[in-house]
């Protein structure tokens, strides 16, 4: 399945295809990648190489699904390549969006801010299915209730 519009992935980041030609293949990024703490066998360099060579990246690739945006790879890479931003762009291009992320953006378009009670309400089916309810008591200990704020638009 050819599912990446790779030029769009590059458009979304601050990178151009040729920027990845500097990657040394040293895999230092893989040696520090947080996703590997999850017993997944992933290699961020592989993503860059596939993008450089115009090869397809499947949506179920563990790094695309689980990258936490921790920048450990960037911090260790000799070229300081911002891999999480590339992966974030890939998620966008592959239209991977959790119901929570949808609700987050919904709140932004209404109030210009994240109004947490709204986000939680909109994401309730997802929260129920995902086993989040058991954490609710603990969250309520510190969440606090407040009214939404309306950002004045210019």
């Amino acid at each position: 399945m050819k599912n990446n519009d790779q030029s769009r992935v590059f458009d979304l980041t601050d990178y151009k295809r040729q920027d990845f030609s500097v990657c040394l293949g040293c895999k230092i990024c893989a040696s520090v990648c947080t996703v590997n703490d999850l017993s997944e066998n992933t290699n961020p360099q592989d993503i860059l190489q596939k993008l450089f060579l115009g090869k397809d990246i499947p949506a179920d690739e563990p790094l695309v699904r689980y990258c936490t945006g921790c920048y450990r790879c960037t911090g260790a890479c000799p070229w300081n390549i911002r891999i999480p931003e590339v992966i974030r762009a890939l998620r966008e291009e592959l239209a991977i969006e959790s119901p929570f992320e949808k609700a987050f953006k919904g709140s932004l378009s209404i109030w210009g801010r994240v109004y947490e009670p709204y986000v939680l309400l909109m994401a309730i089916p997802f929260l129920l299915k995902g086993g989040y309810m058991k954490h609710m008591t603990r969250w309520m200990e510190y969440m606090g209730i407040h009214l939404p704020h309306k950002v004045k638009r210019a």
Binding site: L12, T13, D14, T34, D37, L38, R65, Y66, T68, G69, C70, Y71, R72, T74, G75, N80, R82, E85, R88, A89, L90, R91, E92, E93, S98, F100, E101, F104, K105, L108, G112, R113, V114, Y115, E116, P117, A123, G130, G131, Y132, H135, R138, W139, E141, Y142, M143, G144, H146, H149, V151, K152
Partner: protein, 240 residues
Amino acid sequence: MNYGYYPGCSLTGSANKLDKGIRQVFAKQGHTLKEIPDWNCCGAFEFGDRKELSEFSKKNLEKARGLFSEIVAPCPACYKNLREADEQNEFAVTHPLDLFDDAFIGSIKPVHDLKGQVFTPYYGCILLRPKETAIKRTTVMEEVITRFGGEVAGEKVKDRCCGGNQIFINKSVTEKLSKLVLEKSKGTIVVFCPLCHMAMKTFSGERKVIYFTDLLLYIMGENVPKLQSKIERGGKEETT
């Protein structure tokens, strides 16, 4: 000193404790925090398009223009987004931890000490990486803890990822990563990031998780139940 203040969304909700803490600590030091009028969300990590993401913070900078030259943003995501959007370095976008310098620590008149208590200062990711926006005072929490008599633990996990970013996407990722941090640390976890706070609190069981601001306020004499002995709390059982 007068600072422009960007609390960001979580500090108006789930991280309201951090908001109150920051305001109190700054007030005690004689600084004024004034919110950027009508600030909007910074977009956090929710946008794959770098330009779209940057627009949110550019709007906030626009709202601060002419009013402030120095902006304080406590949430690591907001702080990073604001700093990156300020391409011309027009503002000094600063993280509170970088304002807690030697003079600040030296000026604290301790009322409570931390003797006999063990802490893991936990910075997480975005305060320390990427290097362009990383804070400079990367051991400030340790300095405060040891100076006021506490014991520092968990050095190896201070910069590990709690997976907070995935908490509402793939919860099992956050659970596993947070538990790794919890297992390899000791004592009370001291955090600054609202997302680390949420991830740690969700999976910490009986372990205590506090904001660094609460630690400062405790040292300065405020009542912080989690840090007080039962006797200091009037013999009452701990609730949270």
